[in-house]
Symmetry: C2
Subunit: 527 residues, 2 copies
Amino acid sequence: MSKYLPRLAFCVGRPGLMALRHDSTDCAKIGHTTVSMSRSLRKTSPSAYKILRNTVAKLEQMIGMGHRVRLNEKELAANAVIMAVKKEEIKRGLLDPSKFSPGQHIFQTLNHIRKSPIFNILKKMPKGGVLHAHDTALCSTEFLIELTYRENLWICTTDKGCKAIAFRFALEKPTMKAIEACSWEPMEDFRQRHGEENVRRYFQQRFSMYPLSNFTSNNQAWSHFMGIFILLDGLLCYAPVWGDYYYNALKEFYEDGVQYLELRSLLPPLYCIGGEILDIRDTVAIYEAEMERFKASHPDFIGSKLIYAPLRGVEPKVVEEYVKTAADLNKEFPDFMIGFDLVGQEELGRPLIEFVEPLLKMPEHINFYFHAGETNWFGSPIDENLIDAILLGTKRIGHGYAITKHTLSMQLCRLLDIAIEVCPVSNQVLQLGVDYRNHPAALMIAANVPIVISSDDPSFWRVAPLSHDFYFAFLGIAPMQADLRFLKCLALNSIRYSALKGEEKDEAFSKWQKLWDKWIDNVISNK
Amino acid sequence: MSKYLPRLAFCVGRPGLMALRHDSTDCAKIGHTTVSMSRSLRKTSPSAYKILRNTVAKLEQMIGMGHRVRLNEKELAANAVIMAVKKEEIKRGLLDPSKFSPGQHIFQTLNHIRKSPIFNILKKMPKGGVLHAHDTALCSTEFLIELTYRENLWICTTDKGCKAIAFRFALEKPTMKAIEACSWEPMEDFRQRHGEENVRRYFQQRFSMYPLSNFTSNNQAWSHFMGIFILLDGLLCYAPVWGDYYYNALKEFYEDGVQYLELRSLLPPLYCIGGEILDIRDTVAIYEAEMERFKASHPDFIGSKLIYAPLRGVEPKVVEEYVKTAADLNKEFPDFMIGFDLVGQEELGRPLIEFVEPLLKMPEHINFYFHAGETNWFGSPIDENLIDAILLGTKRIGHGYAITKHTLSMQLCRLLDIAIEVCPVSNQVLQLGVDYRNHPAALMIAANVPIVISSDDPSFWRVAPLSHDFYFAFLGIAPMQADLRFLKCLALNSIRYSALKGEEKDEAFSKWQKLWDKWIDNVISNK
């Protein structure tokens, strides 16, 4: 026996196996017993080998997500259409990977993708719900620009009136201080001074992360990203606009095949034209009223629920306040304000562990939906947010980008049925990864850890409310063989892992099923 | 019971858990049984929570690689020094990720890394063996340039004598055709025409992948990469140079803390000054003789073994020839030529499955060391090379970049003790990924799938023979907590998973241990 074996055993912890392989002298001594343990198939016939090999390959696929979904006759026909189109797009990619969109940055491929046949099929697909999206990052840039035409809007600028710092609705020149020193002028004046088209182009850039696809770090990307939220603050936190923005978001999402929205909101206090500040309850009430109004005119729409998600970069005692607010709001809006989360760049905020004391006081029936592991710093306190999220009983994990590096946490998600909210485009734009084919969700799909696909902040990347994220998940992240079963599973998951309960969940499935069946018919007839 | 449950069950396959969560109406009916099943810890005290949480975090770490290695007193002291330096470098990275080398492309950080204290510690560390490196991509650019000063060297150029196409040693002007039409001239004339310094700079670029850090796809990177091999062909396949190149490689590797090299070679037939072509046996004989010569003058050196690794882009009947050649060579060099592999871009070659028939005929005692899964095309036939490599009984897997997407194959590697040869820099330069923090080896480390770190083709990336790959593995890929135990495990693995056997393996460990103990003393005294 090699004298090094005992020490080596610590490396792998399986001395049995090691002994078998380590020392050929020893093996010789015990005659042919090791040969019979050999894992070589070299004495096998090629055809027998291939049977075994195909079984193993099949088995590996069967472990993955969606492989147990059954398709009916019509779905099978639609699947044939979809897979033919998908194979074409992959074939072109294999021939010239530089033309394969999931290998590029979205800012370079956005227009190109709009022409993709597979994207256009996905666009019309009833995709279920969006379970991870943020309050003021939902609507298209075009809608935001429209908002700047509203009456009584002022803009505050620096750089000789060239750089927009803040917006505010007011009857007279605002006196409030913006984030940096700037001068207020009526929006019309600003537009006239620069010319309408220039202002449009300027806002197209300022209201989004474009054209910066080459930040040098995710910290830089985040700082730009937070800047957009701050700039939009005065434009959107005006009470009348707040409701319209949300209503329009529901409309845009619905038109993109989304029937349900679970929204994370900071729930900022809104202001009125005279400068009065409303209560946080009003922010929620406006949401609920607009949602009901939208549902009334769109009977196929399932609805929307709210996750209170204030900023994480605070002292623990502030989280104590958050918890009280959440409990109060939930009392007032028990079916609408149903969950809690903390937002802002995880790496610059505080880890969940520091907030355990107040968080444990959250009433049992208000669910957690924590952001966790939106980082590539393996082993950092932030990375360990994943463990706290799970142990604090989170129902889903926002992003969970780092979870594949956590064997045990991955297992726990599978066993405890915690879904990961995967936001492919967001992860790329905020600089966690480049090539969608390397996105960790591929591993979640392979290991059948439950996932839902979301868009996080589609407004800022100028993508469709959900279709682009589905496109990258289907074409870039999932295995080539992923088909309609995978897509159906994603849609079903988005309802299954939502905060919908009992009868409302049944109703949700039935509303989705209705549109799904119609879509399947369309795919078949348009082939 | 929700009427949608049976269908949904297919998505996840755990109806028990689903029933618990799906339908709150049902849960209400069975009273508090579901509450007692709750996984919320909200009734726990914060201090009890923290105990549980730290246990789980610790458990997760314990699963990972290296956590069972024990360190002696001196090693513990050295570890303290190393971790202090590592923490400094990570701290700077957290403050400004754009300055964190493992987040950047090596071509931008090469000079910067040479100044890193952690790099300089790793450079001197006895790292064991390199188990994945290719015949003509081992030596520094400087050595290659030196070779171009040898007598009787001709160069073939196009573009008005500006672009080098081929080299050849000959007494008279070569008559052979190069890969494209070009004109031969003596190397001295070429150097004189352009000036020595210009030629040096030109070769520095032509003999490496620099400065092209922004290829648009891995196909393009590969085509450039293969071009270097072709250019070097006539320079290195000259019998006297072949031996000197290998001897110098052993020297450079040894000086970088590498005591053993398991080389993959195409085993090209070499040529002599008069144009005679030698037998492939001579190629091996030269290797073995040079290795013995090197060992004789470097008693700390463990040795070198050879894996015959011809090109994969061939017809199956050619592989039949390969197998015969491997068997013949192994008969002649039983302790030196010990394994077989196939090389060249996996995505453009043929998948292993097409070669099963000839491969099954390989004599049982010649091991396979297959390249597999060096791709990000999930679910492609190439991706499935991983399954064939394992079922064909491979002892290690070259790259295995895609294996984390294959749950079952990962498990098999762990159970069958198959090590993954991870080559971080190679994967970045050949465009599989950018940020080392997203390298799939992080997951192998987390799941304790055995790995070794290798450099593949250090010559072409102008990095140290092994230290840069160790640097990225330690600082970028592994968790922040990874320490001397991790490093020691990597070094031990490189011997443990080598083709060394019985007594020679014992001797290898003992040679490594000697240098290791000396290095530990140095780390402590130089702190």
